[in-house]
């Protein structure tokens, strides 16, 4: 009887050690590689947009092609914050008097608006048309956020082994900053 339990235990352990552990390791390394690729590409794309001041459909397509080559699918979120500096005036009677202060206003432009310019529906315009270029001004803020959609294989397997269900994405990269040029 003793012998049987030992054998069952040995079988389970060998299943874990010979199959799950190496598989887990391979998948995790894959995630690492994917993260590195996504990190580099996000920064490259964000920097390109910041240094030129615009996004073209080709730039965006190249970016998505590159990160999709890792084999995962991703949610990509672009955000553009337009900043304007306005002088603050005070009204005295009928005249306006400059108070000497400035106010920075933020106008956030969301994903759909940017995508609407890059990839307009039923439009005969070619991808190289300037009208399909999303332009930003110097001093604006531009960020790109990428996270993997659904669960990666590694996350699924880890959840199975450790009995956890994690909601946090395996790959999450946020890159960007201030737009430094208006090269259009």
């Amino acid at each position: 009887m003793d012998n049987v339990w030992w054998k069952v235990l040995a079988f389970l352990l060998s299943a874990v050690l010979l199959f799950l552990v190496p598989l887990m390791n391979i998948l995790e390394r894959q995630i690492d590689i994917a993260y590195n690729v996504v990190f580099a590409e996000c920064n490259r794309f964000a920097d390109a947009c910041r240094d030129t001041g615009y996004i073209t459909p080709n730039m965006f397509k190249e970016f998505t092609d590159r990160i999709n080559s890792t084999g995962n699918t991703y949610d990509i979120k672009l955000s553009h914050v337009h900043r304007t500096v306005n002088p603050v005036y005070r009204q005295e009677g009928t005249s306006l008097i400059f108070t000497g202060r400035y106010e920075v206003n933020h106008i956030a432009v969301d994903e759909t608006e940017i995508m609407g310019v890059l990839f307009p529906e039923n439009s005969p315009l070619s991808v190289l048309d300037p009208a399909r270029r999303y332009e930003m001004s110097m001093g604006d803020l531009f960020f790109v956020e990428v996270k993997n959609r659904g669960k990666t294989m590694a996350a699924a397997l880890r959840g199975m082994i450790l009995f956890i269900d994690s909601e946090s994405p395996d790959i999450f990269v946020r890159a960007g900053g201030m737009v430094r040029n208006e090269a259009y």
Binding site: V81, Y102, V104, G139, L141, F143, M178
Partner: protein, 333 residues
């Protein structure tokens, strides 16, 4: 015991250790990633702010004494905006305040002085205590007293203000115009060393004083972040002190393990710094040299035929050569 049993026992013993070391390695890796991310975000924000500063200040000249107060405010606004958006917390007051508390002090370096933008506790107009960043009074770059007579106020350029303790007069001008009075100004390198040391000491002194105040504030308010004196490389001081810019100290961003997060970052606006090369006419020859060239300052500028109207600044040797200027035989640019 059969070999299989030995193997099973061995695996059972070793497995927890493997798991724990694996987890530790994973945490260390994530921690490093996090720290790198903070570095990246902070450096980026400082560069953004400095970039905007150089854009805005490009239209201004020092002689006109621009309204620096709004420029300063916009500068820190640019910096913090960039940080808020990088961490995706813009609009969330609590998280924004938390990020502000991780950057307790910013130093804004100007041509003739610097000011600290630091967290302070004060009573506002309604009598309510506020704890937030405010601008402290601008301080000058005051150096040590030379020859027991001259106290010197430096600027980021070669311009100096000298107070003569004997005749009680204030003199100002380029340092080399005082070479006959102050022997230390005879040597360009010596002047730069003195200037650098003075600027550095003035800033360090101010930071130390502020730190004492911050400790009291942090103690009474139980702010979780304690601020220790940042160590800045000599090389970075050199870089910092050549131009108008922003020096920030970030501390205490949450990390996973090990030492607390500490980082300083510097953004220079490249306003004061002149082009690297200067071209001039000397002895019917057209020469160009580094702006720091000793021969140029000593001989050329002092020569009777020197015409300041004729000098041209170049960004690189190619531009100078294509305009027909030959390299200076002394500094070999």
């Amino acid at each position: 015991m059969k070999p299989i049993s030995i193997a099973v026992v061995f695996v059972i013993i070793i497995l927890p250790f493997l798991f724990i070391t694996g987890q530790q390695a994973e945490i260390a890796k994530e921690d490093l990633k996090l720290r790198c991310y903070y570095d990246y975000v902070i450096d980026n924000a400082v560069q953004d702010a400095a970039f905007m500063l150089s854009q805005r200040a490009g239209q201004l000249t020092y002689g006109e004494n621009p309204d620096n107060s709004s420029l300063k405010d916009l500068l820190v606004k640019d910096f913090f905006d960039s940080l808020y958006y990088a961490f995706n917390v813009y609009g969330n007051k609590t998280l924004m305040a938390r990020i502000e508390s991780y950057v307790p002090v910013l130093v804004y370096l100007e041509w003739d002085g610097f000011s600290l933008y630091a967290i302070k506790s004060f009573k506002n107009e309604q009598g309510i205590t506020e704890v937030r960043h405010v601008w402290l009074t601008k301080k000058h770059y005051v150096g040590e007293v030379l020859d027991d007579r001259y106290s010197i106020r430096y600027t980021l350029s070669d311009h100096v203000y000298i107070y003569d303790r004997v005749s009680h007069s204030v003199l100002e001008g380029n340092y080399y115009s005082f070479q006959d009075r102050i022997p230390s100004f005879n040597d360009q390198q010596k002047f730069y060393d003195l200037k650098l040391a003075s600027i550095r000491r003035s800033i360090e002194k101010e930071l130390e004083m502020y730190m004492e105040e911050y400790k009291e504030l942090a103690g009474s308010r139980r702010l979780s972040v304690d601020f220790s004196f940042p160590s800045v490389d000599q090389g970075d001081w050199k870089r910092a002190l050549e131009d108008q810019g922003l020096l920030i100290f970030a501390q205490g961003f949450p990390v996973l393990r090990g030492q607390k997060y500490e980082h300083y970052a510097l953004g220079c606006a490249r306003i004061v710094r002149r082009a690297l090369l200067v071209g001039y006419h000397y002895d019917i020859r057209k020469l160009f040299c580094k702006t720091s060239c000793d021969f140029y300052h000593r001989e050329v500028e002092a020569s009777p035929g020197f015409d300041a109207e004729n000098i041209i600044y170049f960004n690189n040797a190619y531009d100078a050569a294509s305009d027909g200027f030959s390299p200076c035989p002394k500094c070999r640019p």
